[in-house]
């Protein structure tokens, strides 16, 4: 595991700079004229899980949504700054957001299986619309591969033609993870993936995240500090000021953040003094 090397930038933010596949430089996100977060710089090392924590409204979800350009799907939303994926700015004018979204997968807060699709169709959606997996054989093959990765295969292998929405909440979320994996992304973003799940399903998802960390660069927003501590290698703490603009306060190895935070506000948060 590569440890992040603190690099002081404008605002004493520690940026792990080595072997990072995804680097964010001075990112500002807006909804119309309202600034949701500003001046965020951070790097995400490969083959690791970085947890984003912070009180609600601190902009951590918005930040995550900037990393695969889904932020701009919300009409008036815009972004300033740079997000480098393997060195290339994903917001450069010639870049096709569709390509970016195939390389940076995303799992949402609430499972969102496609209401009218079977499990098989759902899990291979990304492939089918990318012109891959044209035959049913190929699709079943790919579906099996990713459903196994998502530890869901044994539970659904006999009902691939049934609708995804008939599954339990935890199964639905694993289906969505499998669906994201199917397009072979390099990065996997997760937006509080367990917030709507019961403890058993949560444990399954957490286990899955840990096992996927060997192959992917993962960024996981978490509302739950214990969870962040359990699953992540690095932790970033975000906070919104009195102007409701979110900022990155501190980032570092998870152990360090939770035991010896550098910033007083981080300490206040993890010890439960606010939020």
């Amino acid at each position: 595991m590569i440890s992040p090397i603190p690099v002081p930038t404008t605002g004493q933010i520690h940026v792990p700079a080595r072997a990072a596949r995804l680097v964010v430089e001075d990112l500002t996100a807006l909804y119309g004229n309202r600034v949701a977060l500003a001046g965020v710089s951070i790097a995400f090392p490969e083959q690791s899980v970085t947890a984003l924590i912070g009180p609600s409204g601190c902009g951590k979800s918005t930040f995550l949504r900037c990393l695969n350009r889904i932020h701009e799907a919300a009409g008036t939303a815009t972004v300033r700054g740079r997000v480098l994926l393997d060195g290339q700015d994903i917001y450069a004018p010639e870049v096709n957001p569709i390509v970016i979204r195939r390389r940076v997968g995303m799992v949402f807060q609430r499972a969102n299986p496609f209401p009218t699709m079977s499990i098989l169709d759902d899990v291979t959606t990304g492939l089918r619309y990318a012109g891959r997996a044209r035959t049913r054989m190929e699709r079943v093959e790919q579906a099996e591969r990713v459903l196994r990765m998502a530890a869901l295969w044994d539970e659904v292998k006999d009902k691939l033609n049934q609708p995804g929405i008939a599954l339990s909440g935890g199964q639905q979320q694993r289906l969505c993870i499998a669906r994201a994996l199917a397009v072979n992304p390099d990065i996997l973003l997760m937006d509080e993936p367990t917030s709507a799940l019961d403890p058993i399903a949560t444990a399954q998802i957490e286990e899955l995240i840990t096992s996927l960390a060997d192959a992917y660069t993962m960024v996981c927003v978490s509302h739950n500090m214990q969870q962040a501590a359990r699953i992540s290698d690095f932790t970033a703490f975000m906070l919104a000021g009195s102007d409701y603009v979110g900022h990155l306060v501190e980032v570092g190895e998870t152990d360090k953040i939770f035991t010896r935070p550098q910033d007083q506000r981080t300490e206040d948060y993890i010890t439960g003094r606010f939020g």
Partner: protein
């Protein structure tokens, strides 16, 4: 950057193209829609231009409608339209609002649901069926029973005196009332329910009866929405064509009595448009259509503003 599979890169580029054409199609559709509404006005206005030029404002306050001499004054039709719609909204407003209060609050669920369903179905009955029923069932009943009764008891009012015709202003008003009751009732019910949800406990806790609560708290709170419902229904009555044409008697004259035949803007168009031989005659009829268009535009716009503030159908964005 890890080179993306070339095939996929091409595919992704195609996706961007299809996105662009999709967005273009969406905007085209919206523009076609706006163009239709604007075109409606423009074409009707252009069609009425000859009539506007020859008659000016006189068109609206003279009452001779004579195709033979090319004299066209719309006053009798305006009168017939206004009076038949006024009768309709008086009757339908009364029945519809009370029915709405019953369905929203007093009725047990088991009764409210089928009743609401029936009243909604009433709105779905084609107007030609109302006209048929009005012509063969309602108008004889009014002529032989109700009108003589009204004349006997209220004959001192000019509205209820004079010779009785089956196809008359009153028949048209009653048929229109039946047709717009569902509109008044359905929207008022929704508004009353919205107000009820706000005031659920308040007044009952103060010891008021259910009726007093409805009468003193709920209905006043819902009055702008109910008013909007009535205006909307009025708009429907003003423009209703076929049913009115079948029961109003189609005579371009202003009579004091409701028992006399009359004419409306819409029914004169329906009856005479295909027979309008001269350009001016046709233009005069189109001007009536323009008038209907503009009046219903204003009436509906006003009604929507009134009901929007209460019901917010566009999910409050």
């Amino acid at each position: 950057m890890v080179p993306f599979d070339r095939l996929e890169e091409a595919h992704a580029r195609r996706s961007v193209l299809s996105d662009r054409s999709f967005i273009a199609a969406i905007y085209c559709a919206t523009i076609v829609f706006v163009a239709v509404v604007v075109g409606l006005f423009v074409m009707l206005f252009a069609g009425s231009w000859p009539a506007i030029q020859s008659f000016g404002l006189k068109f609206f306050w003279t009452s001779s409608w004579n195709p033979v001499t090319s004299q066209f004054g719309a006053l009798p039709m305006i009168y017939g339209t206004v009076v038949s719609s006024a009768i309709a909204i008086l009757l339908a407003g009364f029945v519809g609002v009370y029915a709405a209060a019953y369905l929203a609050d007093f009725a047990p669920r088991l009764v409210a649901r089928p009743l609401s369903f029936l009243i909604e179905l009433l709105a779905a009955v084609p107007s030609v069926v109302f006209g048929l029923w009005g012509l063969f069932v309602l108008s004889p009943v009014l002529r032989d029973r109700a009108d003589p009764f009204l004349e006997a008891h209220f004959g001192f009012v000019p509205l209820f005196s004079g010779p009785i015709f089956g196809t008359s202003l009153l028949t048209a008003g009653v048929i229109l009332a039946i047709m717009i009751v569902p509109t008044v009732c359905a929207i008022s019910r929704d508004v009353i329910m919205a107000v009820l949800a706000e005031h659920r406990e308040g007044s009952l806790a103060l010891g008021a009866t259910r009726w007093e609560t409805m009468w003193r708290v709920i209905l006043p709170g819902a009055k702008s929405g109910i008013f909007g419902a009535c205006v909307l229904a009025l708009g429907r009555a003003l423009g209703e064509t076929i049913a009115t044409t079948m029961v109003i008697g189609n005579k371009p004259a202003i009579a004091a009595s409701l028992f006399q035949p009359s004419y409306t803007l819409a029914s004169v168009i329906a009856n005479e448009f295909t027979e309008a031989t001269t350009a001016l005659y046709q233009s005069a009829l189109i001007e009536l259509g323009l008038l209907l268009f503009l009046v219903s535009m204003v009436v509906n716009g006003f009604a929507r503003l009134l009901t929007w503030t209460v019901l917010r159908p566009s999910r409050g964005r």
